[in-house]
């Protein structure tokens, strides 16, 4: 190899290559981050339920369906029976409702696709957050405007801990809100 070229390769191209590789890694890291954290995850659901229609236009409270949110760890997806509260009468002609009714009557499992998930070793509790008057939308985004639910915020440990440490600053409108715990067993066991 030409010696000058050799020098050149070592002096200029090698650093450029290393630099480019680092840049490529960083860009990939940031670009793929949302996907990794599930932000924008909008799976297709077995029943084309519209939060925009129900929670937005009709202003049905979140807790009408998500009854667990004040009671325990899980917000709870409503049982099929909750849908049937209204839809045993309302909109019975719609194919989606007919699908729903069929599931309700047959007792088969209605398999919703999960949108938000924390790992099994994370023991998030909805009720301790809701009882502090932290609105659903801080984590779940403006659900009332979503036709199809998609994840808006990252649910990584970093995001949880960030908010826990600065809760009193992030939510100045909530009076008496203290910092959230940031010790391990607050979330993990």
């Amino acid at each position: 190899m030409n010696k000058k070229l050799l020098d050149y390769t070592l002096k200029i191209r090698l650093p450029i290559t290393v630099f480019v590789i680092i840049i490529a890694m960083s860009i990939t890291y940031y670009v793929s981050r949302n996907e990794r954290d599930g932000i924008g995850n909008t799976p297709t659901q077995p029943i084309l339920f519209s939060h925009k229609l129900h929670a937005g236009d009709m202003k049905i409270d979140c807790q009408y369906c998500h009854t667990g949110v004040t009671k325990g760890r899980h917000a709870l997806i409503p049982s099929v029976g909750t849908c049937m509260n209204c839809h045993s009468v309302a909109r019975k002609d719609k194919p989606e409702i007919q699908k729903l009714t069929k599931i309700f009557l047959s007792g088969e499992a209605l398999q919703w696709q999960r949108v938000h998930r924390t790992a099994d070793y994370v023991y998030f509790n909805h009720s301790s957050h809701v009882s502090k008057n932290i609105d659903c939308k801080y984590c779940h985004g403006d659900v009332a405007a979503m036709e199809k639910i998609s994840q808006v915020h990252s649910f990584t440990m970093g995001s949880c801990v960030d908010c826990h440490r600065t809760a009193h600053k992030s939510f100045p409108e909530i009076a008496g809100l203290k910092k959230g715990p940031d010790h391990c067993w607050a979330c993990h066991r």
Partner: protein, 459 residues
Amino acid sequence: MSIDYSLEPSIIEGKPGLASIDSTIAAPMETRPNKNFYMALSVTLTMLGIGAVCLGYSFYYGMGLWGNNNPVGWGFDIVNFVFWIGIGHAGTLISAILFLFRQKWRTGISRFAEGMTIFAVMTAGIFPLIHVGRPWLDGYLMPYPNQHGLWVNFTSPLVWDVFAVSTYFIVSAIFWYIGLIPDLATLRDRTVDKIRKTIYSIFSLGWRHSNRHWHHYEMSYIILAGFATPLVLSVHTIVSFDFAVSILPGWHSTIFPPYFVAGAVFSGFAMVQNALIFVRKIFNYEHIITLDTLEKMNKIMIATGSMVGYAYAMEFFIAWYSGSPLETFVFVNRAFGDYAWAYWIMVSCNVIFPQLFWFKKIRRSIPLMFVVGVFVNIGMWFERFVIVVTSLSRDFLPSSWAYYKPTLYDIGILIGSFGLFFSLLLIFTRTLPVVSIAEVKAVSDGAQPTHHAGGSHAE
């Protein structure tokens, strides 16, 4: 301070010419290896393969395949780690400490010893990574920003280990590489093969033997030696902290740092001596790596061996003197408990056999010194075994005592570590100069200006 080096006996025997030093040292790189080399390599690679298979099974099924149990959480894994780190101590000691002490006999062996350091640290470095239960999460041991917002525990000796071992590896490698640059340049200028030339060019970075460079080069060498010296002492000190910082009787001891360093030098020298005996024979380096040099190494072994022996005695003394019944129990248990066999192997190999080196005949007899060297290595491996296993197997609560028994997987991985080390060493002997060309030239007879001609020389 000026020392009259001319009064010293010759380091290099037989007054070879500078060119012949070149050709002697470069010979292994310029000739094709013979059958024996390949046979040796296949043996070491087989050993490595055994280790790899055992390790593969351990990863697939879990490290429960090893003998580790509940009180004895660390077994062969950490024993091997400490052993190999210890082996890795001789190289830097020879190249840095002896350099600072102006021990010229080091020149013939320093490169090889440094190489052994690097390979031993590489071998050792594998163990902290594989001894964990979830090796795929080894990254958690490194401090790097992450989405958990969590860092490492800086108070844990294992994290110190991570820092110490990686620093030691990097600094040793740099030290080694800096030493290699002039030699690579020499090789570059000797070779006619284009590919070799390119490779040597890349790694010699365009070294020209310029004295304007030698000037800084020597300064950097002193600086590096100056750092490597406390570093080499710190590394085994920190490894000893793995034990000394704990509260386990038999581990929790202030004597550990010096005791471990002495032991490391001891075993490191034994291993270097063993390997050199072969190298000087096979590559005809007897005049460069002289019997005098080996004898000096044996003298260091007797010194460090006695230090280790002193430490063994001192542990008993302190156990008695401290009045701590737990401490006393541990040491009595070591000598007379379930693992007495290991203890007495350790004592005989480390303390009794090296005493033979008081006899000049034995010190200068190649076969005998080889045997003693092997014993020292066995003994030092057992020392780590005794420390790790006996202390754990019978600790505070008699209810949770248990006997540790290694499995074949443990032994396979130990064999594999030797396979890795010797494979790397064998490849090293064929790819890089195992003796520092420039340094040997510098100390060969007539290589330096006569003192009267040039006035006092610069130090």
